[in-house]
């Protein structure tokens, strides 16, 4: 087990190097740079700035410096937000995104698992069709449509909830963004749960449990749920990583100062250190969450050993 974890952590390093290298390459390949804007900076000033940030050196020196920074987990200072280190921006925006993401996933988990289980238990009933139709809607409705729609209904028509702005935790300001962000995950988890449960409910050991005289409730809770939720567990790793790492669209709609918003701005501004920093952070968290899920497997399914 420990060997497995150490091995997986070591693999994380080359993975992150590959991801940031590709990102760096893409930034450099795209036409333009931080200094191309609507207002041209006088060449002399640009020259000075380039010297200050080491941008006048050959590409391989710059690439090497970027790699070194990444490995030290010190991404330097932002070009746009002068004097602010990438680290401090991450530290400031992560709690916003993490709050939003965790709440959204929690909501998705509770609603999704409940709906999926009920749908599986009453397969082909009205409840099943209704929840699966809703899930289909949830998956097909993009959040840039759902978000404004919710704002239109609950803020601008009913005046129940504030339309935008981060208000800390807990706050009513969270309701609409969490709902918007959660919808897709909720729908997806409901479908995963339903299919997982349907498969398990047909298993021989469920028949054994019924033959023991257990009530349907005990059969489901004690025997079926664990196996039926395996697909949801494997989905949780990447989903949670992306949710916590910030979601560009929802943060943009609700004007949340989270990672997603900073990432978007960094891309628009060609703020290279910030882009690299956020990308490295997201890829590390994806890898770690996947590792956590794999470890969790071992606890849920005793047949899995590392």
């Amino acid at each position: 087990m420990l060997r497995f974890i150490v091995r997986r952590l070591i693999i994380t390093v080359p993975m992150v190097i590959i991801v940031v290298s590709l990102t760096w390459g893409l930034i450099r390949l795209a036409p333009g740079n931080f200094y191309t804007g609507e207002k041209r900076i006088p060449p002399a000033i640009e020259q000075n700035l380039r010297e200050k940030y080491g941008l006048n050196k050959p590409w391989y020196v710059q690439y090497g410096k970027m790699l070194k920074n990444t490995l030290m987990l010190d991404f330097g200072t932002s070009l746009k937000y002068e004097g602010q280190s990438v680290g401090s921006i991450l530290a400031r925006s992560l709690p916003v995104s993490a709050t939003l993401g965790l709440l959204a996933y929690l909501l998705a988990l509770v609603v999704g698992v409940t709906a999926g289980t009920l749908a599986a238990l009453k397969q082909n009933s009205r409840l099943d069709y209704a929840s699966m139709a809703l899930a289909m809607l949830g998956i097909s409705l993009p959040n840039f449509v759902l978000g404004p729609l919710l704002v239109l209904i609950f803020s601008l028509s009913l005046f129940w909830l504030p339309p935008t702005r981060w208000g800390g935790f807990p706050s009513v300001n969270l309701i609409l963004p969490v709902l918007t962000l959660s919808a897709v995950y909720m729908a997806y988890i409901a479908r995963l749960t339903r299919s997982g449960m349907l498969e398990v409910l047909r298993a021989d050991y469920i028949r054994t449990a019924r033959a023991k005289g257990l009530s349907e409730r005990e059969v489901v809770l004690r025997h079926a749920l664990r196996g039926g939720l395996m697909p949801v567990v494997s989905y949780t790793g990447p989903a949670l990583a992306f949710l916590i790492a910030g979601t560009v669209v929802v943060e943009r709609i609700f004007v949340y100062p989270g990672l997603g918003t900073y990432f978007l701005n960094a891309c628009l501004n060609r703020d290279e250190p910030l882009i690299i920093g956020i990308v490295a952070f997201i890829s590390i968290s994806v890898l770690i969450f996947n590792l956590l899920v794999d470890i969790a497997y071992g606890f849920i399914d005793p047949r899995i050993r590392y």
Partner: protein
């Protein structure tokens, strides 16, 4: 009533149908049988003949939909199980009627410790505390011959071999000292050497506890040495029923004769293995006559047109065939010609 006449189970005109897109599948279509307290009944038939559905019907575990018990009575110890509310059936399941399933590899919950799976039963039905149930679980594992039961009771199913898992299933089934044990092909998924062990185990436990047993199998060799009575099923119907010895010695149905001929005879040196020609019929589209007619050596026109009668050859021996008397007489002639060699085969078991 039933307890007075010594019957633990009476099944009367049981019909279990499955609704499919292909129409109504009559998996079990008018089954009658009686099981006396302490006796063992063998149900024999090919795949799809309705053996398992019959037994799942007895404890009302037919998945509904698509399955439905359309009619009949299942009288267990004087009570018609089909008339009981689900709550009451649940109290019978696992406590008074227990089942052992075919595949021990998939019939135990892979996510749960053996101890917990065993404890569940006694906690539920006998009101045992956790400690009592745990001790009882160890005792049961010990009884079914699992070495070092105390050390292994907390294992997971995947840490046991197939034969050991089937022993666990048996331990589980017998936990509450059921009055009726239904073993649905308990040895099909196991190695031959393990098969013999498991059958021996069921046999000796039955003698110790006095449980009545229904043994479902497609293997005539398995039922020969284990059962008092045998029912031969085909296409959801009982084709023949008789005392075990009688059925093996003088079968009164062409299908049973075919089955008996398909058992490999190690003393015979010549000839290929016999097999009944053709395949079992599609029970969703049965012909009007005898369902076995198309594969039967004895079949005549009447077999394809009219459904055969259930003929009583002796008070204890029935056969579903237009020519039951004739087939029975032939069997008797063959038996005396062989000088009772069939008896020897039986004694081998």
């Amino acid at each position: 009533m039933s307890s007075r006449n010594g019957n633990i189970l009476e099944v009367r005109d049981l019909r279990t149908y499955f609704q499919t897109e292909d129409g109504s599948v009559k998996a079990v279509d008018g089954i009658d049988f009686v099981l006396k307290r302490g006796e063992t009944l063998g149900i024999v038939g090919e795949s799809g003949s309705g053996k398992s559905v019959t037994n799942l019907s007895i404890i009302r575990l037919i998945p509904d939909p698509p399955g439905k018990i359309v009619s009949g009575e299942i009288i267990f110890d004087g009570q018609d199980i089909l008339l009981l509310p689900t709550e009451e059936v649940r109290k019978i399941r696992g406590k008074r009627i227990a089942m052992i399933f075919q595949d021990p590899m998939t019939s135990l919950n892979p996510f749960m410790r053996i101890s917990k799976q065993l404890m569940e039963l006694t906690e539920l039905h006998l009101g045992y505390t956790k400690d009592q149930a745990y001790e009882h679980a160890i005792k049961m594992l010990d009884m079914v011959g699992i070495p070092d039961a105390r050390a292994r009771v907390d294992s997971y199913p995947h840490e046991f071999s197939g034969g050991m898992r089937q022993r666990v299933m048996i331990a589980m089934a017998l936990s509450c000292q059921p009055e009726l044990l239904i073993a649905d092909e308990p040895t099909t998924a196991l190695d031959v050497t393990i098969q013999a062990q498991i059958l021996e185990l069921i046999k000796s436990l039955k003698q110790e506890t006095g449980t009545s047993v229904i043994l479902i199998t497609h293997d005539l060799g398995v039922v020969a040495g284990m059962t008092d009575h045998i029912i031969v099923m085909y296409a959801g119907k009982v084709f023949e029923q008789a005392r075990t010895r009688e059925l093996f010695a003088t079968p009164g149905n062409p299908y049973t004769k075919g089955l008996l001929r398909s058992v490999p005879d190690p003393t015979s040196e010549h000839g290929a293995l016999y097999q009944i020609p053709g395949l079992p019929p599609d029970v969703a589209h049965l012909p009007p006559g005898c369902p076995f007619a198309a594969r039967c050596e004895r079949a005549e026109d009447i077999c394809r047109k009219e459904f055969p009668p259930f003929v009583a050859l002796t008070p204890d021996h029935h056969s579903l065939c237009h020519f039951a008397e004739e087939v029975y007489a032939t069997s008797q002639r063959e038996l005396s010609a062989r000088g009772g060699r069939q008896e020897q085969v039986l004694d081998l078991e």
